[in-house]
Symmetry: C3
Subunit: 429 residues, 3 copies
């Protein structure tokens, strides 16, 4: 039986992901999300892949996947249907084989892909759509289901109380009538269908005549859209670590404590008195200094977690330098320097959930603990700190003794009032 | 021989104790002072108790002592004589038995109560008053003594050089001529005796005709009047710990250091690299994080002493949260949050003793090291600190990066200049 | 064969050494530089010494050297030739023996002195001058050499590209024609020779007729002129430690880590969880608290390196108090108090080398890491810090929460804006 070709949607914009970059290629355990996902698809039995990139990430993706996948480019953000159409030539050349439509930034358990493969292989429906079971209202698309599992419609954000079912549409869709689907999408673009839901509308039309089956899923689902969602995905991957994997060429000094499930990569050094509390990942050549504590965190390669630093429930990409710093519930990209005495506040005094301004809109992260999200190459001087949920653009400079209380655009230079005048006066800046 | 009834004076005001609450019920090792004291009286052979409460603490005291003691209420702060008169009905019903007058907030060694009991049981005087031997002038009441031990008068604050003896009057008095004493006090109130020293004046009159004996005492005496005196009492109780008492259901991880005499209660967790240096008390379910140091301190139940925090010579009541904080010579009440990077300064730059404003008056604490006294439910943001001897009222909020240099009334919101404007601008406050 | 008398020049001014004091007597491993140097000369076979002091250090030097050396005083800073002339009477009394001219503040390897002694003993030249081999231009005096080793001239700061050789003149000179040299110098002063290079000019004249030999030297050379150069000399002496020398009366608690070469002196206490990473020196009676880290540093006697403090690549003289502080690439003199939460920044945000203002001139230290240089008896309050390369004069007070961004004259009182007004208002300052 022919295996569906996986169409991996990786062309989404990153505008809500600021100050972080390129969610499709975000590195977890030193591997980009895209190839991590491809491995999972492969484990479920999928064999062919076409990645729909955007002009910004196409080269990186092409270099990354090599001959493992085809790459097509969606020239503008015209919706998911348009993205799928970019696979037209590829699919036509193969006489429109069955397809499996996925988004790289939807992180789910391997079981979901397996379930869809199983359903496809054992059933005779035209399509199989994942249905994520929810107990509370979720502002996404819902499946309207007849009987046990036959999907009769898709309802976008129906509002609490108006849900047609408890099943939310995750983009994990097997289609066997590929030519019909492509034609339906194409027809909508040709007809200048308003809004950007061509794909959903095309499916809705097809399901009038063809059988669409729902594949129920009750596992974990972590979409990446906002920067703080990196923390959920981090936790997801950390929780898959099973046992203590310390590379033989990692150096653990005496009086080091390792609790729970951890991976410690080649060349890492864990100095006396340090503690790693799993689930945790310590990348290659990363140094965890004396008395430092890393809890439930992802520390990429080449980082320095200096003497008595603490990192808890956080993601540090690579070459991050901490020196006696406290980093909680935070995401730090490459080459961030968080100097001695710095702290990320992670708790509102009123105990409420942390809000963050995203593209001008105040978004509730839903988290009662959230630290800072810091773009690459940002340097933060000694004794500074960040208020809960602030975002620091890449290539910024934050002076010593400075409390960052609101988002900083890329390349910002921010100095505390106390020192700015004086620092200028010294000619040091 | 009939045992004297203990009249426990617990109705004193707490106005000089601010920002702390209710000194009579202050909890040491998770037990209120009042019942701790009652246990000590019992150990010396006393069997019956009447507690003189005030309208504010009456219900708490009644609930606490249950059937172990009677409770009477002094409706207004009209002096110690008036307090004793509240026991009139109780004493009359028992035909005016001998009494032992004590203040709950005078913490002394058990030996003193035993000495008074012994003197009473072996002697034939009308009264026995404790005389605390001092070498330097102390601004209290002095005993005027004839021969070895017969008390002939009481002199209030005579001034240095005018002391009638080296014996200061502690409120630890056995009276056998109870009816005569009560009548004398009552007569003074009836005669509208000015000032509030009716009790002392009544005793002074009785000792003209009756024999009042002094019972010398050279042990420790720690009155609680000012908030920093909690530290003396804390030290007093800690120094009574004998050996290392670690509850079998406390969890000590590896590489934990326990030095000296300690009590570690049920459910406490001491993480790797932490050190407890006695004398110290760690309450039930309290967590001492990796690398934290607790020295000569009292940590009540349910506290979190986070990673690399230090607590030295301090009293933390319960549910106090520290995160990489330094707390020295300080008193923190229930549910105080002292965030990451916070420090209590405990030393004047000039090395002098720490002063504190109490009811508008500048009081010298006599201590060359004194941190902060913080009322319940106060939240202090990251990177903040307190100057030596400051007092923070309950239910206050101190923002991040804020140096508290003077006392904060209850419910204060205090933010550092650097961040206040900006923090407002973010809508976070 | 007669051993040359060592003329130790110790009369140099310390004006560029501010805020530090008296470089000739700077204590390394609790021994003043002068006697350390004398021991090294002695090991090379030199037996007689005359120290040229200045009026400010004469008494200290006399007390220090006792009968081990003669002391002469140069009354004013009139150059090296004038300094040597102060030895006239001493030398005349001995009939002008050969001399070895050295500066106490030029720290070199013992091998250099040995080489000069060997050259003198085996050769027949009038003088032997050390020639320090350089690969890059160094702004000092160069030797003009003919053939292998005959010195024909001295060229002061020729400028890059104009060097007459790769040999820089270190003040390590053996002269056998002492009378001729002294007369030549004397003659120049008598003739009111302008500028202060009488010594060099005198040598240049003598070498026209007499043989001056160069003794090549490729070892370490650490002059002390600027305060940060103490760090080079510290490192020099630390790197001579061979093995782990822990005094039997030092106390190392359990779970202490000692790595590399260290000296730990009598009475020192290293508390649980502390780490000493060599090369390092821990002076007598110094306390290294729980979880503290001392790396490649010199900690003099009687210091307290409090709980979780870090000291790296630094020099602390004696009685220095740190409390949860971070001290990096810094020099702290006697009795400095660096309170809880203080940090010395040691890195420019732009990664450039650290500059420092010395006598009004901006000097490049050449170091990409440099912390603070702090004079004796300076007190720095909690949560404060110093910017890279700043110098704090002795007897200063820096308030809490204060970032020192530029040099502070001696006796400065510097308080952060946030707290100064309020602190004044409390009457505490």
């Amino acid at each position: 039986m022919q295996k569906p070709v996986v169409i991996i949607l990786a062309g989404g914009a990153n505008s809500r992901f600021w100050p972080l970059r390129e969610k499709s290629l975000y590195r977890f355990m030193d591997e980009p999300l895209l190839t991590k996902q491809m491995n999972v698809y492969r484990d479920a039995g999928f064999e062919e892949f076409i990645v729909i990139a955007n002009p910004g990430n196409r080269d990186m993706i092409a270099a990354l996947v090599g001959k493992e996948a085809d790459v097509a480019v969606q020239s503008a953000a015209l919706g998911m249907g348009h993205a799928i159409l970019q696979a037209y030539n590829y699919l036509a050349a193969k006489d429109f084989p069955p397809i499996y439509v996925c988004q790289v930034n939807d992180v789910v358990e391997a079981a979901l892909h397996q379930k869809l493969m199983d359903a496809y292989q054992s059933g005779s429906a035209a399509s199989y759509l994942a249905g994520f079971t929810v107990s509370d209202y979720f502002p996404g698309g819902y499946l309207s289901v007849e009987g046990d599992s036959r999907i009769r419609g898709l309802v976008e954000k129906p509002g609490a109380g108006n849900e047609p079912s408890d099943l939310v549409n995750i983009v994990a869709h097997v289609h066997t009538e590929t030519k019909a689907l492509i034609d339906a999408i194409d027809g909508l673009y040709a007809a200048k269908h308003p809004s950007d839901d061509h794909y959903e509308v095309a499916m809705a039309r097809l399901m009038q005549d063809m059988r669409f089956e729902c594949v129920r899923y009750e596992g974990r689902w972590h979409p990446i859209k906002y920067p703080w969602q990196v923390l959920d995905v981090t936790h997801f991957y950390l929780s898959q670590i099973d046992g203590q994997h310390v590379h033989p060429q990692a150096k653990l000094y005496s009086e080091v404590t390792i609790l729970g499930n951890v991976i410690i990569e080649v060349g890492a050094k864990i100095f006396p008195g340090a503690a790693i509390v799993g689930p945790a990942y310590i990348g290659a050549n990363t140094v965890v200094g004396n008395g430092a504590l890393v809890r439930e965190s992802h520390i990429g390669p080449g980082c320095v977690i200096g003497h008595t630093s603490e990192v808890a429930r956080s993601y540090l990409e690579r070459q991050v330098n901490l020196h006696r710093a406290v980093v909680l519930d935070s995401v730090f990209e490459e080459n961030v320097n968080f100097s001695a005495g710095c702290v990320t506040a992670n708790l509102r005094i009123d105990g409420g959930t942390i809000k963050s301004i995203v593209k001008g809109e105040r978004i509730d992260s839903g988290r009662d603990k959230l630290g800072a999200m810091v773009g690459a190459n940002t340097f933060i001087g000694i004794q500074s700190g960040t208020m809960p949920g602030v975002k620091l653009g890449a290539n910024s400079e934050v002076g010593a003794f400075t409390n960052v209380v609101s988002d900083l655009p890329e390349g910002t230079r921010r100095y505390a009032i106390q020192t700015y005048e004086e620092t200028r006066a010294t000619g040091k800046i």
